[in-house]
């Protein structure tokens, strides 16, 4: 509990620092949401100035930051200038959609990476290992964007999977099980895309961690006792190789989140991706900071889970 308390405190400090620097950086960027209005001859300069004053944009940096922190405490995270509503309620459903997508993609990619990496390492130099190596090398040199576009092309050409959105137009009229099926079909393409782009790195890490462990004397000793190969792989080697993989799990959340922003835009997934792109283009500062903060929370939570898992799985960390 002491360990968890310390890590939570640490996470809180990091989030505070991220919010401060994100605010500072975005404030330092030239222009604001009302710049486009100034170009409109039908909107007077006075109106623009009044609007700026109304939204507190004439205040100093520290006052605006303090105001934002106050609204964060209420769960609002400021007002979106583009939508005219508090940012919080705007973010939550989109954050849920992004989490559902990245969560399922992570599960899918780890479920593929672990067995494939373990088998590749066990049969080092064999045909499965060579196929995996070729597959990962190929995928690593293909940009994520191209993978998503190819999947989109495949969906459009074949019609097997919906090419965008989270639900069909008639979703409200469907029965419960039909709704689940419709949601799963819409999930398939973006989740598969995310899993494909994150798989090579995970697979290579699982393989190299396993190769190192499989060469350890304690594995040789286990073989000497006649312990079956499958038990050696899953009961002995994988737990021993899990430390770098658990750390990688925390880090892979960052990769997955950044990739999800692209896939959401390309496949029209109603997550944080399209929202932040629009917010950046229109300089909707509070929305951008809100998305940055939420992404940071996801990333820190992922790393916190990884730290706790490491603490539970590795006696050496507990001793330290």
């Amino acid at each position: 509990m002491k360990f968890l308390g310390r890590r939570l405190l640490h996470s809180g400090v990091i989030l505070l620092a991220i919010s401060f620097f994100a605010f500072l950086l975005l404030r330092s960027a030239p222009g604001d949401y009302f710049d486009a209005m100034r170009m409109n001859p039908r909107v007077s300069a006075e109106t623009v100035e009044n609007l700026r004053a109304q939204y507190g944009m004439n205040h100093s940096f520290l006052v605006r930051y303090a105001d934002w922190m106050g609204s964060l405490a209420k769960g609002d995270m400021g007002i979106s200038l583009a939508y005219g509503t508090p940012v919080g309620p705007l973010l939550w459903p989109r954050a849920r959609n992004t989490l559902m997508l990245t969560g399922s993609a992570m599960i899918l990619s780890w479920m593929l990476a672990v067995p494939l990496g373990v088998w590749s390492a066990a049969a080092k130099g064999g045909w499965l290992d060579r196929i995996c190596s070729l597959f990962t090398s190929t995928l690593l040199v293909i940009p994520d964007l191209l993978v998503f576009l190819l999947l989109l092309l495949m969906a459009v050409r074949t019609g097997w999977l919906p090419s965008g959105g989270m639900t069909s137009g008639n979703f409200a009229d469907l029965a419960v099980w039909q709704k689940a099926g419709d949601l799963a079909l819409h999930f398939a393409l973006p989740a598969l895309g995310l899993a494909i782009v994150s798989l090579p790195l995970l697979l290579r890490h699982v393989r190299s961690a396993m190769v190192e462990v499989l060469d350890s004397p304690f594995i040789r000793a286990a073989r000497g006792h006649g312990i079956p190969r499958s038990r050696i792989l899953w009961r002995f080697a994988l737990p021993a190789a899990s430390n770098p993989l658990i750390s990688l799990f925390g880090l892979s959340i960052a990769t997955m989140l950044s990739a999800s922003l692209i896939v959401e835009v390309i496949l029209s997934w109603p997550g944080l991706g399209p929202l932040i792109i629009q917010a950046i283009l229109s300089r909707d500062l509070n929305v951008v900071i809100g998305v940055v903060m939420l992404s940071s929370v996801f990333l820190i939570a992922g790393n916190l889970i990884a730290d706790v898992l490491l603490f539970v799985s590795d006696p050496r960390i507990r001793v330290e």
Partner: protein, 278 residues
């Protein structure tokens, strides 16, 4: 097979082990012959020291003998059975009769398991025993290697280096092997710990008729541990005989070189002492 002396436990015939490797950049293959037609006989309930310089092929031989690596050619007869002719299923009961202890106990023990789990694991696979029976046997063996019963729930990390090596030996003894191969297992221990482990092995040998093979890189330890010594050079046994004969009348130049190293190391402290006295 040709006739063996009645007390022969292991007979190794023309054993060859070749490793194929690739060059880093060109990718071209090249071979390393670690064992080159090696022949060796090990007597039942004896203690053999396998001595040689680094790269002589000692550890490769230990791994082949411990059934952890498959030789490229040759025969290993264990208790009058050519184990290299057996398939995986036939080999399963043989494995429990041959055990290996590694040099570094920290890496040879699974750090994620408790001492009891480490000891019980081989029993779980090799025998049909209840959990309580396995645990009782683990506690008995801990006692046998002079580790307290309270250490059963400790993990390898919680033990000292000497205690870890005792635990590694206990694990090897768990299946009551007939042949125990110690691959430099005593090299990194302090004198007191080493002596107590040697005493323990001697007692087990007297009690159970255990055959011991110590893999060593220097003759100093061989003189203390073994009744028989086999000297390895370039993947072959170049001299094999009783420790007394080998120390008094070495025949092969390699043995003589090792012996010179051994004697100078014995003389060195005296020389230093004389030098210090001025």
């Amino acid at each position: 097979m040709t006739t063996l002396a009645p007390d022969t436990l292991v007979s190794i015939r023309d054993l060859t082990k070749t490793y194929v490797q690739r060059r880093a950049f060109s990718g071209t293959q090249f071979t390393i012959e670690a064992l080159r037609g090696l022949n060796l006989e090990i007597r039942r309930a004896s203690t053999l020291a396998l001595v040689g310089e680094s790269g002589a092929g000692k550890s490769t031989l230990a791994r082949c003998l411990g059934l952890l690596e498959r030789p490229s050619a040759g025969e290993i007869w264990f208790d009058r059975v050519n184990v290299l002719a057996l398939d995986r299923r036939q080999l399963f009961p043989v494995r429990r009769r041959i055990q290996l202890v590694f040099q570094d106990p920290a890496s040879a023990l699974n750090s994620g398991m408790t001492a009891a789990e480490i000891l019980e694991e081989p029993l779980l696979i090799q025998y049909d025993l209840t959990k309580a029976e396995r645990h009782r046997r683990a506690l008995d063996l801990l006692d046998e290697v002079e580790l307290p019963a309270s250490s059963a729930e400790k993990r390898p990390l919680d033990f000292s280096g000497g205690q870890r090596q005792r635990l590694a030996i206990a694990r090897a003894l768990m299946l009551r092997p007939e042949l125990l191969i110690l691959d430099e297992a005593l090299s990194n221990l302090d004198l007191a710990t080493r002596d107590s482990i040697v005493d323990l092995l001697d007692a087990l040998q007297a009690e159970q008729g255990l055959t011991l093979v110590h893999v060593l890189h220097e003759l100093r330890l061989a003189s203390q541990l073994a009744s028989d010594v086999a000297v390895m050079f370039d993947g072959q046994i170049v001299e094999h005989g009783s420790a007394d004969r080998l120390f008094s009348r070495p025949e092969h130049p390699c043995t003589r070189a090792l012996l010179r190293g051994f004697r100078s190391s014995q003389e060195a402290p005296e020389a230093m002492h004389v030098e210090a006295l001025g």
